[in-house]
């Protein structure tokens, strides 16, 4: 059972990575003067008594190793802790904030794949042509601009004029799927476009270079020698083999983005994991920050394992070992 052994090993190393991330995060944020934490919580003008009370409540007066032990014990059973401010469970916050983030990633994914792959394939088959040049510069502009500028320009150029003219389908903020598919798309459209503009560049680059590499392989020459049409050679033999690095990048990206698409969520006020994380940083709400960091790392680790599995199925030359 090669697969089971492979899975077991990957899960084990994944857990080690998660443990390192959790410990490092804990060390970064808890191994600093207790007063900083408590003062941040109790407010700037808090009296020493109030601060001391806060310290005791949070267990911050216990030895650091005891705190670490408690913290890891809770994380191990999937409890990400409780917010300093209203004692709300971080798990509950995650449940509330995951839908906007997941909606953003899911829709954006479809858009960026359509744009990235089609431009990439066209560029590779027409390398150094005018189309290739224009497309390269066009998609590179996506990663050459800060995301918030792209997002705000979209708000300015699309959202404001449309709403001024009484066309109110496109909105900012978030509307869940429970409010109907129309409003959901209306709220998500601009965030999707923004996310896709950034991501499409990476996928164009990746699919273009991967396909160019593949088209230089011997079996492509063989396919041409067999007398297959150029279209068939490129799409059936080339593109299929060229997709493996794209799939691997896709897994990593989806994992990373599910942890929170900070900038896009903040610009459009979607209120997902990313925006909540920024607010938690602003208010020095350590349990929420740490919980989100660990959750996001878990997404990345899981995505990596899935990618490795897919890789083995997609490309028979990759052997699981």
């Amino acid at each position: 059972m090669v697969i089971t052994r492979f899975l077991f090993r990957r899960i084990l190393t994944g857990l080690i990575v998660l443990w390192v991330v959790a410990t490092a995060t804990f060390a970064l944020f808890f191994a600093r003067p207790v007063d900083t934490v408590a003062r941040g919580l109790a407010g700037r003008a808090a009296s020493p008594a109030v601060i001391e009370n806060a310290v005791r409540q949070l267990g911050l007066n216990q030895p650091i190793l005891t705190q670490y032990w408690h913290f890891m014990g809770k994380v191990a059973v999937g409890n990400l802790g409780y917010s300093y401010y209203n004692n709300e469970s971080v798990n509950t916050i995650v449940k509330q904030d995951l839908p906007p983030t997941a909606s953003l990633v899911a829709g954006g994914l479809v858009l960026w794949l359509i744009v990235g792959l089609s431009v990439g394939i066209l560029s590779a088959t027409r390398a150094r042509s005018l189309f290739d040049r224009v497309a390269t510069v066009g998609v590179l502009a996506g990663i050459s601009m800060p995301t918030f500028v792209l997002g705000e320009l979209l708000l300015l150029v699309v959202f404001l004029p449309l709403n001024e003219h009484g066309f109110s389908w496109i909105q900012d903020g978030y509307a869940g799927l429970s409010q109907g598919i129309g409003p959901w798309i209306g709220h998500m459209l601009l965030p999707w476009i923004t996310l896709a503009m950034v991501q499409a560049a990476i996928y164009t680059r990746l699919s273009r270079s991967s396909l160019l590499d593949t088209l230089g392989e011997d079996y492509i020459r063989t396919a041409r020698a067999k007398g297959l049409t150029e279209r068939r050679v490129i799409y059936r033999h080339g593109v299929r083999a060229a997709m493996t690095p794209v799939v691997s990048q896709l897994g990593v990206d989806v994992g990373a983005l599910l942890g929170g698409v900070v900038v896009v969520e903040t610009v459009f006020g979607l209120g997902g994991l990313g925006q909540t994380a920024v607010q938690a940083v602003d208010t020095d709400n350590l349990p929420v920050i740490i919980g989100f960091v660990i959750l996001a790392a878990a997404f990345v680790v899981i995505a990596n394992i899935i990618v490795d599995l897919c890789y083995a199925f997609l490309d028979p030359r990759v052997r699981i070992s």
């Binding site: 390398a127 150094r128 502009a141 601009m145 680059r205 690095p245 929170g260 698409v261 920024v278």
Partner: protein
């Protein structure tokens, strides 16, 4: 007729080639020759040099216009409504920002900070990334197991959230921002260097070096390192724009370079509320940033193409099939690295 000419040209080319081959060229010379034929890459180099010059000459502009970067001009620099003045008014060539400072001078000073952040973080990330990646790949075994897991852990960190938290905890300042951006950039370089080292250490020349008694550090830094420089250079040209964009993102979230020091990031984030009233406030810094990052990104692509010896061969094979659809004799086929780290980095910045 045309056939004869073609043959003649080819024969002539072959002669020329044999003459030239006597010179003997290093990999770098070959790369440079190929790069020089790439018009886009050459334009990018010129643009980058120009921007660096403008950044160096920023104080000259400040004294020419009598508008120091940090000085506000409440009377001439803002309208009666307290808004920025438009380009060309009262001697402000590109207008002013929200508090009446000269936008042109601030963009030029911002170029210094943004380029500094981009270059310094990239140098730190490259040094750390190459060292860790090479040690991990060369020694293997337990060293590799530990270092590779560490690299994985850094790559699994949710970038933006943690960078924000760090900047908030320690307090945002130039060294902190450089440290944070470097910390999240070296791992991607490390991973690729490790992979390259794994294959390079099996080469015959490494075996030869070992057989004459060279130690591991000598082999790593004398025999393996020069062969890693090409991919690392490409990674660096892609990491610089990613770092510039990263700084801008931190600024947007309030934790980048702090006022009154100008960076493109904090000018853009200050412009956030003036998109409708003062277009120049956002357009000019955005254009400056876009031109710079685009130039680095395109140059990186160009160098990668120029360094890949397979490009011409692949193109030649494709050209016959495509019946001359391509235009020049150099074609692109980018490095097989599954993920360009520059690209990945900025992808995560979006996250």
């Amino acid at each position: 007729m045309s056939l004869v000419t073609e043959f003649e040209t080819e024969a002539h080319g072959a002669e020329a080639a044999s003459e030239q081959s006597i010179e003997g060229r290093s990999q770098w010379q070959l790369t440079w020759r190929r790069l020089r034929r790439d018009k886009v890459a050459m334009i990018c180099i010129v643009v980058i040099v120009l921007i660096a010059l403008l950044a160096i000459l920023a104080p000259v502009f400040a004294s020419l216009t009598h508008h120091p970067p940090d000085v506000t001009f409440p009377n001439t620099g803002t309208t009666s409504a307290g808004l920025p003045v438009a380009p060309g008014t009262n001697g402000f060539l590109l207008g002013t920002d929200s508090v009446g400072r000269d936008l042109l001078v601030r963009i030029l000073y911002g170029a210094r900070i943004s380029l500094f952040v981009g270059v310094v973080t990239t140098v730190i990330a490259a040094l750390a990334g190459v060292t860790v990646g090479m040690v991990s790949g060369y020694f293997g075994g337990i060293v590799d197991a530990v270092l590779a897991r560490f690299i994985d852990a850094v790559l699994a960190f949710p970038y933006v959230v943690l960078a924000l938290a760090l900047a908030a905890v320690i307090g945002p300042s130039l060294p902190v921002i450089i440290a944070v951006i470097s910390f999240f950039s070296w791992a991607a370089i490390s991973r690729i260097v490790r992979g390259q080292t794994l294959s390079l250490k099996e080469r015959e020349y490494v075996e030869a070096a070992r057989s004459i008694g060279a130690g591991p550090w000598r082999i790593m830094f004398i025999d393996i390192l020069p062969n890693l420089l090409a991919p690392v250079l490409v990674l660096c040209t892609l990491a610089i724009p990613a770092a510039i964009v990263f700084e801008a993102t931190l600024s947007f979230l309030g934790l980048g370079i702090q006022e009154p020091t100008a960076s493109w990031g904090n000018i853009l984030s200050a412009a956030e509320n003036y998109y409708q009233e003062a277009w120049w406030f956002v357009v000019f810094p955005a254009v400056a940033l876009l031109i710079t990052t685009l130039a680095f990104n395109l140059l990186g692509d160009g160098i990668r193409d120029a360094m890949d010896p397979r490009t011409e061969r692949i193109f030649a094979a494709g050209r016959k099939q495509r019946r001359g659809r391509g235009r020049s004799s150099t074609d692109t086929s980018a490095a097989p690295a599954p993920a360009a780290p520059g690209a990945t980095a900025s992808g995560q910045v979006a996250g």
